[in-house]
């Protein structure tokens, strides 16, 4: 999709700076997947409805499909590939496995990144707040009960 207006943009994804040659119209989602090659972040609706493309920008969860890559040159971008610490799973990842928080798995990277950010936001945890605060992530397999259980467990004080 390179065109006449493609320019070099340096994005810092999972603490690694990458210089990509992209057009202004490339969304952050497409830059992450198609230019940086990090395909863990998923493209579902591409219109900010499903949350499959959730990433963190400077620690805040956003839908990467509704922002331009060029707008994030000085930001710290975290994708699902940057959530674990080496071979040690992030507690939300471990809890999703423990509670079987997925079926097809397509929404799972977005669910996990969103949940990690949600827990850092410091909401008082209950089933209601998890359902409310995770409303931006749709699961078409309908695994919500297990997703809620996983997030509640991951959010318990250690």
């Amino acid at each position: 999709m390179k065109g006449p207006q493609a320019t070099a943009v340096t994005l810092t994804i999972n603490a690694v700076p990458r210089t990509l040659t992209i057009e202004p119209r490339v969304t952050l989602l497409d830059a992450i997947r198609d230019y940086a090659g990090l395909t863990g972040t998923k493209k579902g609706c591409d219109q900010g409805t499903c949350g499959a493309c959730t990433v963190m920008v400077n620690g805040r969860r956003i839908d990467s499909c509704l922002t331009l890559a060029m707008m994030h040159e000085s930001d710290a971008i975290t994708t699902i590939e940057g959530i674990a610490r080496g071979e040690t799973l992030q507690p939300v990842q471990a809890a999703f496995i423990e509670h079987d928080g997925f079926q097809c798995g397509f929404c799972t990277p977005g669910q996990i990144v969103s949940a990690v950010a949600m827990l850092a936001e410091g909401h008082a945890l209950s089933e209601d707040t998890v359902r409310t605060q995770m409303s931006g992530n749709i699961c078409r397999c309908g695994c919500y009960p297990h997703i809620v259980d996983a997030i509640l467990e991951a959010g318990k004080p250690a």
Partner: protein, 325 residues
């Protein structure tokens, strides 16, 4: 998306200069509305000017007003102690809007300028007088369950989609606008334009102008305010009907009230007749029901959306009961 050029502005002055340079240039802040519309080919600006570096993120007391910079994000405003204490209706309306991800992205200037969710506006294969003036209205006589019942015309029945603009309208918020030779202010109640014969004209903003912030004047009873939103899902859905209310009750008598409706009108809808009926009335359900009737005075359904009229009345009554409890 069609190709476009991209530029960054680092000051209000440079943003205004840049937007004047190219006809049909547009600003981008959060991007959640403009990029969505560009993907659908409803909008096709030749250049986007990124204004995120502009110093317009303050949320602060300025004299007797609460000032919210145009680039403050929905989530930051909702969580701000000044907003939560003085005007809970703003926080609640924001928390009831969109999703957490979108609230982290969307600026308040963009929120109040967001375009309608009318499916005909967003589908370029269908007629729409707002998108393509003179082409007709697909919603009139078409799928109109989500459309407006107040402020409509025979050219357009599209609903205004913002929740927080309804709260701002109830609170007499004032829009601060920068232009080439200075700044001007417009009360939000005069900012929006009902469709009439020109549904493509949605507000008082002239080409090349930039919203720099919103000011909310002090309201002694602002702490007694709330937002009630009825919708098809519990979260992450646009309003079928909503009400922003504030109520000053002393010894069982209402001294003053503010009421605005969302989800049912072509612009955030201030219900001044209902407010006037409540002033001096007893704080009872009967008073609230009279006010709700007045708030929906003149409402006209299109068939599928007739249900919004009784629904909106119940939403008004519930909101008034909640703030007087």
């Amino acid at each position: 998306m069609n190709p476009f050029a991209f530029a960054r502005a680092d000051s209000v002055a440079s943003a205004l200069t840049a937007v004047h340079r190219t006809p049909h240039a547009q600003f981008i802040a959060g991007g959640t509305n403009i990029l969505d519309l560009m993907k659908d080919d409803v909008e096709h600006p030749p250049i986007l000017i990124d204004i995120n570096a502009l110093p317009l993120r303050a949320i602060e007391q300025r004299g007797d007003q609460l000032f919210i910079g145009a680039l403050a994000r929905m989530s930051d405003i909702a969580a701000h102690p000044l907003v939560q204490s003085a005007f809970p209706v703003i926080s609640i309306a924001l928390e009831e809007s969109a999703s957490p991800q979108l609230r982290n992205m969307a600026s308040i200037g963009g929120n109040v300028l967001q375009r309608t969710r009318c499916p005909y506006f967003r589908d370029t294969a269908t007629p729409c007088n707002k998108r393509n003036p003179g082409s007709g209205c697909g919603a009139i006589g078409g799928f109109n369950r989500m459309q407006a019942v107040l402020g409509t015309s025979d050219r357009c029945i599209a609903t205004h989609a913002s929740d927080v603009a309804v709260a701002f309208t109830a609170l007499d918020a004032v829009v601060h606008i920068a232009h080439g030779s200075g700044t001007r202010t417009v009360p939000l109640t005069e900012f929006y334009r009902e469709p009439g014969t020109t549904p493509q004209v949605e507000n008082a903003l002239a080409p090349g102008e930039l919203i720099v912030g919103l000011a909310i004047p002090e309201l002694a009873y602002g702490a007694h305010s709330t937002y009630v939103k009825a919708r098809d899902r519990a979260q992450y859905e646009f309003a079928l009907a909503s009400a922003a209310v504030a109520l000053d009750v002393q010894g069982g008598t209402i001294r003053a009230a503010r009421i605005a409706l969302g989800g049912v009108a072509t612009v955030p809808w201030r219900a001044r007749q209902a407010e006037a009926l409540l002033a001096g009335a007893p704080a009872t359900r009967a008073s609230y029901e009279r006010a709700a009737e007045a708030a929906l005075h003149g409402a006209r359904g299109q068939g599928q959306n007739d249900f919004k009229i009784p629904l909106a009345k119940r939403v008004v009554v519930r909101a008034l009961e909640m703030v007087s409890a």
